[in-house]
Amino acid sequence: MDDAQLIPLAARGDRAAFQTLVERHRGLVYRVAYQYAGNHQDAEDIAQDVFLKVYRSLDRFRQDAQFTSWLYRIAMNACVDRSRRRNPADPNDESDELLLSTSSSDPDPEARAWAGEIGEAVRAAVDRLPPRQRVIFVMRHFEELKLIEIAQALGLAEGTVKRQLHAAVHRLRQMLRDVRVTQEGGVA
């Protein structure tokens, strides 16, 4: 049974139909959540948030839209919402850093060996971006969504998304400069 047949059934409370939808799309949702969060615990929570929201909203899903596009939209917003819930005052302060600290403090040995200090620092810097910049960067860089698609998913103007991407890249480059300065200082 394809998604178009399952969705109305799930919207009428058919748990088996909903479970089939979850099993079919959980990989995509989890991947997005993990790209954003960088650790399994947060990725699981975000992915569950996404499917709960899907469950609550199935009756409003427009059948002429792509189900996966709709999932992307919900997933992106869930990522941003989660960071904001964790730290409503300042999305870029220490607690935001802590949210993703797992990914930067526990890289696997191969990754550490390959990328070294710069790799680790860039990954940590991505994790420290403000929520919206981070989701835009992650969706463009890792998921390779076009900026116009991200704008539509987040309900933003494309120009805003471009500016946010620019700001994200600016922060990452700044961090890169800092690391280089530190390395040079260390060498000297």
């Binding site: 009428r12 989890y30 709960l52 790799g119 990954r123």
Partner: protein, 239 residues
């Protein structure tokens, strides 16, 4: 030192393939003479290489979904059953459509009868408008103006209110329906009075129901999160 291309983010748009063809060509031509943009692209490439080692995962640790699915099931268990997509309230619509059509046909029939009577040599009328006035005293005139448009607009209110999920809809989400309902009440009241004058209790009942729903919708309280739910019950009861 600064660069307009760099400042407006052209380097990352180029890097991510987001520039249209003319902009891309212009940027490539610009690159030769701009160290700032070349540095930006070099940094972006470094960032890409650094992130290539970032772990990806499309499944929980160990590829085991059991705990995830159990957790999701538990959270779903706390949710109320999803609302089935609300079907349009065809009962009320068809009643309105049918009764309005009958009423309109009656008025037009009366108008035709009057005109035929005049053509057969009955009392002359000064003009067609006068004939119309004679055939359609005020309450009847109201019914002759019952149009598909009124029905369609009423339908927009009922459909709009029925389709929203009261668990998540905010009062601002149905502002349009509230305002439209407000604008339709006066006409609906006129049609109901005209129907009463015609001795059509069935039509009076249907229009009365519609009037009640429109009135309640127009009075929807911005501060009351349960207002929409109550309206939906009101509509359902009048099916």
């Amino acid at each position: 030192m600064s660069c307009a291309y760099h400042d407006r983010g052209s380097a990352e748009l180029y890097f991510y393939g987001e520039l249209d063809e003319p902009s891309r060509e212009a940027f490539v031509a610009h690159l030769d003479g701009c160290a700032i943009c070349r540095d930006a692209l070099a940094d972006l490439e470094t960032i890409r290489q650094a992130l290539a080692s970032r772990r990806e995962s499309a499944a929980p640790a160990g590829g085991n979904w059991d705990a995830f699915m159990r957790g999701l099931d538990a959270r779903l268990g706390e949710e109320p059953a999803p609302r089935a997509p609300r079907a349009w309230n065809w009962g009320l619509t068809l009643k309105i459509a049918a009764t309005v059509a009958i009423a309109t046909a009656g008025v037009l029939g009366g108008f035709q009868w009057q005109r035929a009577r005049i053509e057969r040599g009955g009392a002359p009328a000064a003009s067609l408008a006068a004939v119309a006035r004679e055939a359609s005293p005020t309450p009847f005139e109201a019914l002759t103006t019952v149009t598909d448009r009124h029905l369609e607009r009423s339908k927009l209110v009922l459909l709009g209110l029925s389709a929203k999920d009261p668990r998540v809809a905010r009062p601002s989400d149905w502002t349009y329906e509230r305002e439209l309902a407000s604008s339709l009440i006066a006409d609906t009241t006129q049609y109901r009075l005209a129907a009463a004058d015609q001795g059509r209790p069935d039509l009076v009942k249907v229009l009365g129901d519609l009037e009640t729903v429109l009135l309640q919708a127009s009075l929807g309280d911005d501060e009351d999160p349960r207002a929409l739910e109550r309206l939906q019950r009101l509509i359902a009861r009048r099916d």
